[in-house]
Amino acid sequence: MPGKLKVKIVAGRHLPVMDRASDLTDAFVEVKFGNTTFKTDVYLKSLNPQWNSEWFKFEVDDEDLQDEPLQITVLDHDTYSANDAIGKVYIDIDPLLYSEAATVISGWFPIYDTIHGIRGEINVVVKVDLFNDLNRFRQSSCGVKFFCTTSIPKCYRAVVIHGFVEELVVNEDPEYQWIDRIRTPRASNEARQRLISLMSGELQRKIGLKVLEMRGNAVVGYLQCFDLEGESGLVVRAIGTACTLDKLSSPAAFLPACNSPSKEMKESPLVHPPSHGCRSTHNSPIHTATGSRLTQNFSVSVPTLIYTGTGSGSAGKEGGPLKALLRQQTQSALEQREFPFLTLTAFPPGLLVHVGGVVSARSVKLLDRIHNPAFVGIMGNTRSYKLLDWNSFNSDEPETRDAWWAEIRQEIKSHAKALGCHAVVGYSESTSICEEVCILSASGTAAVLNPRFLQEGTVEGSLEQRIEENLPVGCGFCHIPYDELNMPFPAHLTYCYNCRKQKVPDVLFTTIDLPTDAVVVGKGCLIQARLCRLKKKAQAEANATAISNLLPFMEYEVHTQLMNKLKLKGMNALFGLRIQITVGENMLMGLASATGVYLAALPTPGGIQIAGKTPNDGSYEQHISHMQKKINDTIAKNKELYEINPPEVSEEIIGSPIPEPRQRSRLLRSQSESSDEVTELDLSHGKKDAFVLEIDDADAMEDVHSLLTDVPPPSGFYSCNTEIMPGINNWTSEIQMFTSVRVVRLSSLNLTNQALNKNFNGLCENLLKSLYFKLRSMTPCCLCHVNFTVSLPEDELIQVTVTAVAITFDKNQALQTTKAHAEKSLQRASADNEEMLQFPLELCSDSLPSHAFPAAKAVTVEKASPMGDGNFRNRSAPPCASSTVGVVKMTPLSFIPGAKITKYLGIINMFFIRETTSLREEGGVSGFLHAFIAEVFAMVRAHVAALGGNAVVSYIMKQCVFMENPSKNQAQCLINVSGDAVVFVRESDLEVMSAQQPAVNCQPSCTGEVTT
């Protein structure tokens, strides 16, 4: 009997009128957990009932505690007929299961009904008494912390990063066709909500078990997704990065002294006694455990990165032997079916050594119709699409979804290997389903990592020192990890413009956030490539084949567009790249978003040359030259706009070993795509050694035009899809998270690819323009973490969903600090070699502030900069919004500007269905969805507030599936959101507090403040 769950129903308010005669309601509450149900008394004739119930006690296994949601149903008592349900509240009690998170859930929850939406609120108190369970073979994984945040959470320190964890659960979808149903819509919606809640609980528990097996205590970058496969079932899958985290106890975590690496190294063995004392992962118990799992279980298991200390710290220093070694190790990893993937996008300082480029893989699968519900979603014929080499095999063998993913991951791994990398970071997986066709996609950034973080107990001063020594500041990650003489693809290499010692590519594409120590010139900007391709309607295999055939062309074009747009912006690197391919009945859509920046370490990008095919035509020539001029003008304008003026002087001073004239640069496809494909695809470009756009037909002309139609954001606005905007440091505290959804209907008459592209482009551009207009009062501000999702709900319907956060910043000071920062880092970069050799430790503690807390860069940088004091005062000036009762901030970022996260309360993972049969009365589709999204926000906020939190970070709307049937006056929408509930304290408050009682740990006072 490992746990006791206690629930108290306090009161209700704003209940709907259920009895028309009296205009009142006789409400009571059912509290259900597992198979046990309790009821409160009926509170007669009130819309604000005061139940004040006793404590309902459920004695349950902790396994159930993890899987089951607490289900609270509010009903209207009816003497003569069946009681009417008013609505429900599902409470995930997981946050109560780990010691450091919430201790009690208490507050007002919106009562939600899938047909009527929110109908009043209910006040509930939930507590859990956990008994210590010493059973080794337990099935639960209570105590493993989960974080959606894709970096090491702010008040923790990573002791070990174990590696990739994944799991999936399959079930029958209780409602695979919503239009024709047997039971009431409410019943089927609720069944679905409950099932998904159960499945995600189970999934989380299973992942937790894997983490425990790996001796970790947390999952970071946890991403859980649903695949609504329709008739073939419902898949809930999750990936994450297993870590051993250590709570930073000091409230003054921003002070560099607390975090100096030397200390860290001393502390870590205490925190995690390396009982086994193994340095070689091959002998580590984790490994054997993994192996044994594999034999018993179909689920593909989880590796610890095999990366022993044998590199003896020379990682990144020099190529040949190490690279060979790496490859060997990767090889052995391969044999053990390990996936050295991290879902993190930002890393503790020193972890990321080199970045190879983006690796991605896609596969087209056919979802099979399931005849026997018992095997729902597990069987299926496959059509496997592997980039260019499309190999189909008519296998009758049952293949699980696991096997599908395993195949893709394998491919990713081999791509990474081809780039000379042993790991993949910023890894993510996604699906797009249309009828019975499913595209599975995975992508990440091939990288070489520092082994220090990846295994327990590697404490060696000398190693430490050498690593620091070998990591050139701010450019190390740009250096190529692959062998120069044996390049996986044709690339143009130069010596690093920063350190002049190592080779760098001319363009770098990645899926991660910009490393905090990266030296960037000017500001960044959001870059999108958008593409539509028509496809014939087809069935089953023919359809899959058609899609598979289109995919390489889509990837190619998306890539070309990205490259062109990047050059047009005068930038040379993309971060946070996310390419989404969506399949619809009669078309495929591709949308790539990334944040372009100018990395100081990489060469200046060349321009874009246009060439005509018919050189004899005079007017045509003129037209071409006109276009060329326009392009050149745009590049010049963009350079000014984004303040890209790299210090060219340095070139002469240092004396570049390879001073190549670079007016033109070469298209480097392979950075962003799998090497397999590249070698084949590159042929089309192979003969040209310059980046030339040939205008030989109307299509190409259109492409060039579309390049130039992207309007820059209005002045005062910046946008990016990464955590923070490169080049802006001085964030003020005002944030506004929002979701915007648009659905457009394409006129079905003779659609062409070209018209489609234009429509799609217009849709995205207009959406952005609308956002800029709506948020104009916040300027100067930056839209961060701009996340576009495209879906094709029906023929001729395109749905685009955007979630982002607008953050204000102080313009004047931002400029100053940028300059100061840039100067500082440049100085540092030039001076570091000497200093490092002489005073390695001193330098460590000195340089640490700028990257100790990756996302809180603004804060630390300011403190370190000469103007620190002034900035700080000014920033704390704006009124503190958190003082208002009940405000819960939401942000897709992992931090809150101007504030410090003091506590993580647990993961928020919620799934809602809303349906209506009176669409017109609810204001049409817009009114319906507007209200629903507002309700979802409200429910998230209520749950966070009940946990004692005041913000959600790393918030993401993972799914927003909208279906309408206007002729029947019906619509249905499914939304899945997640994030981390946190407690934050304004830095201004923190200052006051520490001034008053400097010795006090801020923890108790913070929580006290929040609960007021």
Partner: protein, 364 residues
């Protein structure tokens, strides 16, 4: 390509004050867009008409969803669906309950019934205020009326508590409720020169002095059914007012009163002779108004009577306001020296308020 669905939802609900005003003024989305275009917003922001249309629709939808909550403002404070900073909540409420002077003059003192609601078309045409806006304002009046009508305690406090209005606006609503409840006639042609402010001023004085609540915080019998403390006039007081009739009915008393007033005011009024000749008429007018207040019909005509019997005669003789003030003061005070008159307290309660009202009503 047509937009089927187009929404924007912020974690903090975005409120555009300009659009809110247009919405409150009852403009359709298209009219609102046209008005916004005319305001030059496109040039300022570089936005397109499509963007403006989408933005306006969004705001209208939000306001529409908020409207239900605005009907019971405390709900807006406690609801969880829209996260709105307190200052914005206050602004939303205040603006929602703000009314147009032109509109309120049309319905002030009318029964807030379905019948009146039907006349809103005419009011809309007459005032140029959109019908939608008229309806909102009318419904606001009616809603506030319904909520506070049966309540005990201070009318203004009740309104403030249940509708979270500013002090100023709550006072205006108290006047509207008071007028609607007592059905004072304000629409007659001769009353057209009066503003809502004039009536509201009088209402406040009357609430303070002539209602049950005015008698004292604790009514004589706490168990009595004196529910509508601030809304209804004190019936007993109105009955008693009959006693004042003696002031004009008793010829000696009237003469004495006149001579007392004239003695003091001689040489102080620019219109002394006019006052002297008119004294009896004016006094009769003022006292008869008091004596008639037992009948509901006459209560309704209170303002008509005051204007007819006092304001108009004085105005036709071109009394300056200062003279009116001096006269009324002396007229009230002199009664204290009338030995035969026993209703001094009653007189003061009546005349104190009436004097304030008359001075406010006396203008062009």
């Amino acid at each position: 390509m047509t937009s089927e669905l187009d929404i924007f939802v912020g974690n903090t609900t975005l409120i555009d004050e300009d659009v809110y005003r247009l919405w409150l003024d009852g403009y359709s989305v298209n009219d609102a867009v046209a008005l916004r275009v005319r305001s030059g917003i496109l040039e300022q922001t570089g936005a397109t008409a499509g963007v403006l249309q989408s933005d306006t629709m969004d705001h209208y939808r939000t306001f529409h969803m908020l409207e239900r909550l605005l009907h019971a403002p405390p709900k807006l404070l406690h609801q969880l669906i829209f996260q709105i900073p307190p200052s914005r909540q206050a602004l939303l409420i205040e603006r929602y309950y703000t009314f147009d002077e032109a509109f309120v003059r049309e319905v002030l003192g009318k029964k807030l019934s379905k019948g009146t609601k039907k006349d809103l078309d005419d009011i809309s045409t007459k005032t140029g205020i959109t019908l939608k806006s008229c309806r909102r304002q009318f419904d606001n009046f009616k809603r506030v009326f319904k909520v506070v009508e049966e309540m005990r305690g201070s009318l203004v406090d009740n309104i403030q508590q249940h509708f979270l209005l500013s002090d100023r606006l709550a006072r205006d609503y108290a006047a509207i409720v008071f007028f609607a409840n007592n059905r004072f006639e304000t629409g007659k042609k001769k009353l057209q020169y009066l503003s809502f402010g004039d009536f509201a001023f009088c209402a406040e004085l009357m609430i303070q002095n002539w209602t049950l609540g005015a008698v004292g915080e604790a009514p004589t019998d706490p168990d009595s059914q004196m529910d509508d403390m601030d809304v209804d006039l004190d019936k007993e007081f109105l009955q008693d007012l009959k006693e004042l009739k003696v002031l004009v009915a008793d010829k000696d008393l009237l003469d004495l009163h006149k001579s007392l007033v004239c003695t003091v005011l001689r040489g102080k009024l620019s219109v002394f002779s006019e006052m002297e000749t008119n004294f009896k008429n004016l006094s009769r007018g003022l006292v008869n108004v008091a004596a008639k207040l037992t009948h509901n019909k006459d209560v309704r005509d209170l303002f008509v009577d005051l204007v007819e019997k006092f304001v108009e005669p004085c105005r036709s003789d071109h009394w300056p306001l200062s003279d009116v003030r001096l006269f009324l003061t002396q007229y009230s005070v002199s009664v204290h020296s009338l030995d035969g008159f026993r209703h001094q307290v009653l007189w003061d309660r009546y005349m104190g308020t009436l004097r304030g009202c008359l001075l406010r009503l006396y203008h062009d």
